[in-house]
């Protein structure tokens, strides 16, 4: 028994060391830093209690980043979920070239975000292809391009993000659709159910666990949106999000790591609360179903 426990200990020790050193220690250390005025280049720091947290509440840039993150989550999650479900239903049908469409929709999700962001920066600039398309349909694009206008910058990034993620979630929905027994549809058809009835009474309820998984995973990802913002706008034009705010505060201009740590924990609490709420909803719905 003792030997077995010792074996367990030695076998997991490398992982425990890595976890402790590179995950647990930074998590605890940054929590402590959140109560200090530590700046990267300064020689020392003082304990300032909750001052960083009270400063966050009155910091217009933090509040704007919080608002932008909330907007990003509120827009991209429903859009991605609905579009990926629609695509999954579409490519689940039997037609010629189905595999090509599936691969085509999935391709953006395995491409580097930096590469996609750079391509879209080009497409969205003044005189770019998207501006030309908008002009062709009789609308006037923003004067300086989509990314240099506060009214359109964040929404442009959201649209790109949805385009990029939709193929990945389509694949997960597709797996969920494959798991639904064919007999249920046959029975519904015998009972005279039409396409809409079958979708709302069989497909959607049986896809609920998959859908909730997608919503949880996608919302965590959306709360942490960073690369797109970093590459396309550097947080300018009202596009700063929570993670970008943390990066900018802690690791670029200000090097204010104490304040950035407090902001990181504020984000952690928000994601935790959001995830707990989603899990609570899942458990309730599962109980109902």
């Amino acid at each position: 028994m003792l030997q077995s426990r010792l074996n367990w200990f030695w076998l997991t020790l490398p992982w425990l060391l890595i976890f402790g050193l590179f995950w647990l220690f930074p998590v605890i250390y940054s929590f402590v830093l959140g109560f200090t005025n530590y700046r990267l280049l300064a020689s020392g720091f003082d304990w300032i209690g909750f001052e960083n947290y009270t400063r966050l509440i009155s910091d217009p840039l933090f509040l704007s980043s919080l608002k932008n993150t909330a907007l990003f989550v509120a827009v991209t999650i429903p859009a991605t979920t609905i579009l990926s479900l629609a695509l999954a239903l579409l490519v689940n049908r039997r037609f010629k070239g189905r595999a090509l469409f599936r691969s085509g929709f999935f391709l953006p999700s395995i491409t580097s975000m930096v590469v996609i962001a750079l391509i879209f920066t080009n497409l969205l600039q003044r005189g770019g292809y998207i501006a030309l398309l908008v002009e062709m349909i009789g609308l006037s694009p923003p004067e300086n391009g989509f990314l240099l206008d506060s009214a359109t910058a964040l929404f442009s990034i959201m649209a790109m993000d949805v385009w990029m993620s939709v193929g990945y979630y389509m694949l997960i929905f597709l797996a969920g659709l494959k798991a639904i027994p064919e007999e249920l549809y046959e029975a519904a058809e015998i009972s005279g159910a039409g396409s809409f009835r079958k979708f709302f009474s069989i497909t959607l309820p049986l896809l609920r666990p998959v859908m909730l998984f997608i919503v949880v995973v996608n919302s965590i990802k959306s709360f942490q949106v960073f690369v797109e913002i970093f590459v396309m706008t550097s947080g300018k034009f009202d596009t700063s999000t929570m993670v970008y705010f943390i990066y900018n505060t802690g690791l670029t201009t200000h090097f204010d790591l104490g304040y950035a740590s407090a902001a990181a924990y504020a984000l952690f609490v928000i994601i935790l609360a959001f995830s707990l709420a989603q899990f609570f909803i899942i458990r309730r719905k599962e109980a109902i179903w």
Binding site: L41, A42, S43, Q125, R126, N144, L148, K236, F237, L251
Partner: protein, 405 residues
């Protein structure tokens, strides 16, 4: 007894031999990765190693996009290299926090008439040795401008000369622009605006240094002129895109540095262009002055060897060698500047006239924060509300808050 003496003698000899053979390794972080320049740098380093067989130099490449962050993190974690190449804007920030060695004595040993010491002076001490100075001038497409303007020869003396010519150039055809207008690029946009600011007679701080006066009448006038060019005929893009369009013959006027001369030469571009000093109410105007500096980390255990290496690399002969490879116009060494290479080319000569007429940002540990506030004000005027005085006043208030910390 004899044996023990022999052992002692052998041990002493071995210890001396080991200490004689011990080698100092200098870590050097630098920003030159260009394949046309790096071999020259490696050659200069190899020369130094040959002259100093007990010193080895390890070069590590940084990029301008994230080099500053890497240096900050290295300093914060006490892993800074012995020698650092620094942008002049960063010196005060690192010196203020005690991360750079005071090399004030080095000036006394300088015999080559080094220029640009003032950019490395903080609290009456020198923290870095100038390597290259850098300034910007006006590049203009002669074919486009001479086709557009009425009176020749064209010499831009006032801002209105450039504005009038640029607006006329933009009317020459579709996809032809008068002015290269920079999109928001960190550490870059303010360098384009500041020449307008300084040339208009504006200054950042009051004479006694107590107050920020960014939003003075002169400051507002400078931003108005910059915005007029952007609004009326600006080609919007990052620096690379602007220079590409200029070299393709699509832009009348751009602000650029000596690196554009290098591109024109290396890419064998067929462009009929001219360079001009910055215009202004008191011609010539003031351009932006910066530079690349070499500093020694305070934590370095090899300070004297590091300083020796810095002296080697910034020697007049090595600066000439490097400038020729990089097409650089403005070495820090006056002795190097007397080489015919610099006077034989009209564009290089113009850069050297502009560099002495240029102004540099205050040597201030908070400069990186201050420059980002100036950039925000310019962005707000160009791409946001379009107002001029309000964003400048807002930035002025924030700068004063930084200085009051």
């Amino acid at each position: 007894m004899r044996l023990s003496r022999l052992i002692l003698l052998t041990a002493t000899f071995c210890l001396i031999a080991i200490s004689v053979r011990s080698e100092t390794t200098l870590e050097w972080w630098q920003f030159w990765t260009d394949p046309t320049v790096k071999p020259v740098l490696q050659e200069i380093v190899a020369d130094f190693e040959e002259q100093n067989p007990d010193i080895k130099v390890n070069m590590t490449d940084l990029t301008w996009s994230n080099g500053h962050e890497k240096i900050v993190i290295a300093m914060a974690s006490n892993t800074a290299p012995d020698i650092l190449e620094l942008g002049s804007d960063w010196i005060a920030q690192f010196a203020d926090n005690g991360h750079l060695a005071d090399i004030s004595d080095d000036i006394a040993k300088d015999s080559s008439g080094m220029r640009g010491w003032s950019l490395a002076e903080y609290n009456n001490k020198i923290y870095a040795r100038p390597w290259f100075l850098g300034t910007r001038v006006i590049f203009w497409n002669k074919d486009l401008v001479e086709k557009a303007v009425d009176s020749l020869p064209f010499v831009p003396v006032k801002f209105s000369d450039i504005y009038d010519a640029a607006t006329k150039v933009s009317k020459l055809g579709k996809n032809i622009y008068g002015w290269g207008s920079n999109s928001p690029e960190k550490h870059r946009l303010y360098k384009k605006f500041m020449p307008f600011f300084w040339s208009s007679g504006a200054q950042l701080f009051s004479d006694d240094g107590k107050y920020c006066v960014l939003a003075s009448t002169y400051g507002v006038e400078a931003l108005t002129q910059y915005k007029q060019l952007h609004d009326s005929c600006g080609f919007l893009g990052n620096q690379r895109a602007i220079e590409d369009a200029f070299l393709d013959g699509k832009i009348g006027f751009v602000i650029s540095g000596d690196w554009l001369l290098k591109r024109i030469a290396l890419e064998n571009r067929d462009i009929n262009f001219a360079t001009s000093l910055f215009p202004g109410p008191k011609y010539p105007g003031k351009s932006f002055l910066g530079g690349e500096y070499l500093a020694v980390s305070e934590s370095s255990p090899n300070k004297s060897a590091a300083l020796e290496f810095i002296r080697h690399i910034t020697s007049a002969a090595n600066q000439i060698k490097f400038c020729k490879a990089n097409h650089s116009a403005t070495p820090s060494s006056s002795e190097a500047l007397s080489d015919p290479y610099f006077s034989s080319n009209a564009h290089l000569s113009l850069f050297n006239r502009q560099v002495v007429l240029a102004a540099h940002p205050p040597v201030d540990p908070d400069w990186v924060e201050i420059e980002s506030l100036i950039e925000e004000a310019v962005e707000e005027a160009l791409f946001g509300s379009g107002k001029i005085a309000v964003p400048l006043l807002d930035a002025q208030r924030k700068i004063e808050a930084i200085k009051a910390r």
